[in-house]
């Protein structure tokens, strides 16, 4: 197994406030890894630091190449798709335009057209609404659109920030099922940040637990799910 993403001693700052205190973890090619932790632990900051959306120091290597000091938009071109918290929908554009925007860095127009069809197969509801303004979609539909938009990049790594947030439990099941399928069938590596630890651990193969900007626990997702002490002290279920 090769390492796709390697994060070493990551420290991130919001102004004078330090949010990450030397966080290290790695993600294998083809894996589905989850970062767990309570509110304010630094999960979102970690994802934002990978895409250089927050000031940080330390090493971030993707496929052996350093990502530090590159602009957000050039990091995307390495094949890293980030589904941000709040979904980042282009609300005043149509569903189809949102999908086209996901592929805006690609040059193969035939591939883009067929990928849009592929997304409609994954998410049939998006096909029904393809001419609709994306802002009129429900929360769950917008989350599906955000995932589909990210996949339009044909990413090697997808970063997902709390995809379950604000969604009905059934919709979350649906979404996580699709994520697992994408990971297995399309070989997209996934790093998912979640507060819903139980669900994330069912889906993931690898897991890290963050507390106040540091990794406090790591291991196989099944082991962590089965370890009652970890569950009770860090994951709260």
């Amino acid at each position: 197994m090769t390492t796709l993403l390697n994060v070493k001693d990551l420290r991130a700052y919001y102004g004078q406030v330090q949010a990450l205190h030397g966080l290290s973890f790695s993600l294998n090619e083809g894996s589905l890894t989850t970062l767990l932790g309570a509110n304010g632990a630094g999960k979102t900051t970690t994802l934002r630091a990978i895409c250089n959306m927050v000031r940080s120091t330390g090493g971030i290597e993707f496929d052996g190449k350093p990502l530090n000091n590159r602009s957000t938009e050039s990091i995307v071109r390495f094949g890293i798709a980030h589904v941000p918290q709040g979904r980042g929908t282009f609300t005043n554009m149509t569903v189809e335009e949102n999908l086209q925007l996901g592929a805006i860095t690609r040059k193969d127009s035939a591939g883009i057209v067929s990928d849009i069809e592929r997304m409609y197969a994954h998410f049939p509801v998006l096909k029904q609404r393809h001419t609709q303004q994306a802002g009129t979609l429900s929360g769950g539909e917008q989350q599906m659109l955000a995932v589909a938009r990210a996949l339009m990049l044909r990413p090697r790594l997808m970063l997902l920030d709390e995809p379950s947030f604000g969604l009905a439990p059934l919709v979350v099941r649906d979404l996580f099922g699709i994520l697992g399928k994408i990971n297995r069938e399309e070989k997209v590596s996934i790093l998912v940040v979640e507060q819903n630890a139980q669900l994330a651990l069912e889906l993931a193969d690898q897991a890290y637990v963050i507390e106040t900007g540091r990794i406090v626990m790591s291991g196989n997702a099944k082991d962590i799910a089965n370890n009652e002490e970890i569950r009770k002290s860090y994951l709260g279920y």
Binding site: T72, E73, P84, F90, M93, I104, R149
Partner: protein, 292 residues
């Protein structure tokens, strides 16, 4: 009745120019959330460039195209040199930047070409259009060029990838960066296009208001009125607003006693204030609702 039709058509013709100015203002407002007070001066300077080219013997349409290119590059240069460094600065700093730009361009034009009023040619002539006394060929030309420009812009923003990327960068900059769009260059491109659109407005209105460094002052105020009326967040609204303001200006000047030519400009200002009081988002603008 003929007077009415005549005034409406003339209003549509000047309205086309206001629509262009409003569109230029809205494009920059969408990109950086500031009103470009120097939009009119940029257009005036471009018009002088085209005039200078014609003085050197360049034919009208060649000068027109060269001026477009000059304005496009100039707009990008202004953004890169002056406003990119101010991107994270407070509002007042930006306002000071715009006023400085206004003064610099206005004085430079005065210095280079002096403040005397100059004749500016029209490629359309000023005969009655199609033998009708209602509208002149130049006015018809103003409307025609503007309509072509608007169609071109509509096609560009609706059907090209770069147009899509520009819209994305203006509406949700963070998400735009996350799909790989270089938002900073999209802003520069917006400046270039706004500057070129303004130069078209300047070149079309110059035969009417005559060429001099302060020629765009009134036009820009009408442009602002149009943008506010249509909604600063809506390019479509800005265009509709432009035509409406043009018609309204003429009808008010003709039919409201005491307004005449001298009081036309305060009408634009009164319009701005009324819209801001009654419907701040404008006719087609979106209310910005922010979750706090």
């Amino acid at each position: 009745m003929e007077l009415f039709t005549n005034q409406v058509l003339a209003g549509i013709a000047t309205g086309a120019i206001y629509a262009c100015m409003a569109l230029a203002v809205v494009m920059i407002y969408q990109a950086i959330d500031h009103l470009n007070f120097a939009q009119g001066e940029m257009a005036m300077f471009s018009t002088f460039i085209s005039w200078q080219l014609m003085q050197w013997g360049v034919p009208y349409w060649a000068a027109f195209v060269i001026t477009l290119a000059f304005s496009f590059v100039g707009g990008i240069a202004i953004e890169r040199i002056l406003f990119k460094p101010l991107a994270k600065a407070p509002v007042l700093t930006n306002v000071a930047g715009f006023i400085a730009l206004f003064a610099i361009i206005n004085s430079s034009a005065g210095l280079i070409w002096d403040f005397t009023i100059k004749q500016y040619p029209t490629p359309f002539g000023s005969a009655p259009f199609l033998g009708s006394q209602l509208i002149s060929t130049h006015q018809a030309g103003m409307i025609g060029v503007t309509v072509l420009l608007l169609l071109g812009l509509y096609f560009f923003f609706q059907y090209t990838r770069i147009g899509l990327a520009m819209r994305a960068a203006a509406s949700v900059p963070e998400s735009a960066r996350l799909v790989g769009i270089n938002t900073s260059w999209m802003i520069a491109l917006g400046w270039g296009m706004a500057s070129a659109i303004g130069s078209i407005a300047g070149m079309l209105i110059a035969p009417v208001v005559f060429l001099e460094p302060n020629m765009m002052g009134g036009v820009l105020i009408y442009g602002f009125a149009a943008a506010v009326l249509g909604g600063l967040t809506s390019p479509f609204g800005a265009v509709v607003g432009g035509f409406l303001v043009g018609i309204f200006e003429n009808l008010a000047g003709t039919y409201i006693p005491g307004v005449g030519n001298e009081l036309k400009l305060p009408i634009a200002l009164a319009l701005i204030i009324s819209v801001l009081v009654v419907k701040p988002a404008g006719l087609f603008g979106r209310h910005i609702v922010k979750r706090v």
